[in-house]
Symmetry: C2
Subunit: 316 residues, 2 copies
């Protein structure tokens, strides 16, 4: 018989509703049965998809977190507050936590992970890096015995969408507008454009690959705000493609990290990454070069990564 | 303190000696300590690299398998016999088994996995598909909750090396000779060229993705023996590349599988796979399209995948 995992959900926006929908739709390959308990929302009267989620909504976070039957809390609120306080409260209550919130983990990860360790619960956040690409999971499992030499990648879909659009002849401003129109860019895209989002994801990769916390603020970052169409065209003319690339090299004691626009060869899968696709490349002493490509964002894709973490919790 | 995993090794050829070398060289990121116990070889007097392995060699398989201190047996012999009998004996003795032997698992997998289940031990074989690409591991862990719709890939390095060499103008025979000279092709490359090796790997992927055993003999296969330079050139002229592609589509009850030469678009990472690189593409309902690229063979690369399985065993 499958184990039933009781899930409380904090936030029911794009990602949260994707998680709710997935948990309410069991399928053949499910290794655990999921039961959706409370769902924290701002407005209980709002009509939500899926309809079945309406039976679980509440505006009281403690209703969700302190529910004694709940095994795991999924945090899909984004932002630092109140997510930070609520995740701490969930851990204090002995719940496992799954989060898609890279800003939260990149900022408070060391404290939250140590606290989870003290309370004997898991804090997993595979969805926070690379969307559906199982980068953190692979570093934690298949490559757990591998000596990692280098990690690089395209970790931000918004900037990648803009750079690819500029290759088609768009000016920066028009490309940004197009990214907004397609739902890739937020209303305030500053943290995407200036490399903050990428640096936060790189910080999480550094922890998984080198067991070292690298504060994202310490990572040298150059964004794409100053890139013009000529630079994009020159890169193409030179047989390459301009991409916002994150790089991590070294070992636990000496680690170099950077986020910057780089011209990559056209034969490199990073050059072929279109739209919101992300790429994570891992170079290890034994495994050689492994490249993972996949959707870096999206409702169902992020929900898929969260469910992957829930399955890991169900196997504990 | 790290747990010590006691390992017995069956076979010390290219892959086996790579595993021995890796186990004898601990590094910072090791999550388990490995202790190499017996190593089954044909000739105890042969000089071996690494030197330290010489202290452990024996020609008596039972010495290795029945050693009461050994937790896990790594099978690197290849072939069906005596590998099959020895793996069964290891499981009967209550040892976990890690194998890189795709022919063994594709042929006797259902029986061996059921037997391991009965005895409460693990039988892992991540190295048997895609070399260092953690394809089976990802399907088993990060994508364990994902509804898989399709898997495709380039799973054989020898044929890929030959097709890429033919793109550079080589005739089939010369390309095969070159593959031999570079150590990619075996003396009798028939199972590579006719698609058997690819079909066996596809069978293991079908089990991991759809929980269904698809006998490799039942998979429709067309090899590359009849491919000539003109077909390779025509594919290029048409904006594509000819590759030996394995495909799996459907669900547990209705599964279509094929191995055949296919023209893939140049923008597809499968077209960019050079030499012995493998590509595994997974399409899931939630995760979308994930593409994994990496070395499909090689001494250190295969050893890396085996160590990944050993780490999984150490965490049980």
């Amino acid at each position: 018989m499958k184990r039933t995992l009781n899930v409380g959900l904090l936030g029911c926006g794009t990602v949260g509703s994707g998680v709710a929908e997935r948990l309410l739709q069991a399928h053949d390959r499910d290794v655990a049965a999921f039961s959706l308990r409370g769902v924290l929302v701002r407005d209980v009267r709002k009509t939500r998809r899926p309809q079945a989620v309406m039976a679980h909504v509440t505006t009281d976070a403690m209703d969700v977190i302190r529910d004694s039957r709940t095994d795991v809390i999924v945090e899909c609120m984004g932002g630092l507050e109140p997510a930070y306080d609520l995740v701490k409260e969930a851990i204090a209550c002995g719940k496992h936590v799954v989060s898609a919130n890279k800003a939260l983990i990149a900022t408070h990860g060391p404290e939250l992970i140590a606290f989870a360790g003290d309370r004997g619960v898991e804090l997993l956040f595979d969805a926070a890096v690379g969307g559906a690409i199982p980068a953190l999971s692979v570093l934690r499992s298949a490559l757990a015995g591998e000596e990692i030499l280098e990690i690089s990648g395209i970790l931000n879909g918004t900037t990648n969408y803009i750079l690819v659009a500029m290759e088609s002849g768009c000016e920066f401003g028009a490309a940004l507008e197009s990214a907004r129109a397609h739902g890739y860019a937020e209303l305030d895209p500053a943290n995407d454009l200036n490399g903050t989002d990428t640096a936060q994801k790189l910080s999480l990769l550094a922890h998984a690959a080198f067991e070292r916390w690298l504060p994202w603020q310490s990572i040298a970052r150059t964004g794409i705000e100053a890139i013009d169409r000529r630079q994009v065209r020159d890169a193409r003319a030179g047989g390459g493609a301009l991409r916002l690339v994150a790089t991590l090299k070294g070992n636990r004691t000496r680690l170099e990290a950077a986020v910057e626009p780089v011209v990559v060869p056209l034969a490199d899968p990073m050059a072929a990454a279109t739209g919101a696709q992300n790429v994570v490349r891992v170079i290890g002493r034994g495994c050689g070069t492994l490249t993972l490509i996949g959707p870096g964002a999206g409702r169902e894709q992020t929900a898929s990564a969260i469910v992957g973490d829930l399955v890991a919790v169900s196997r504990l």
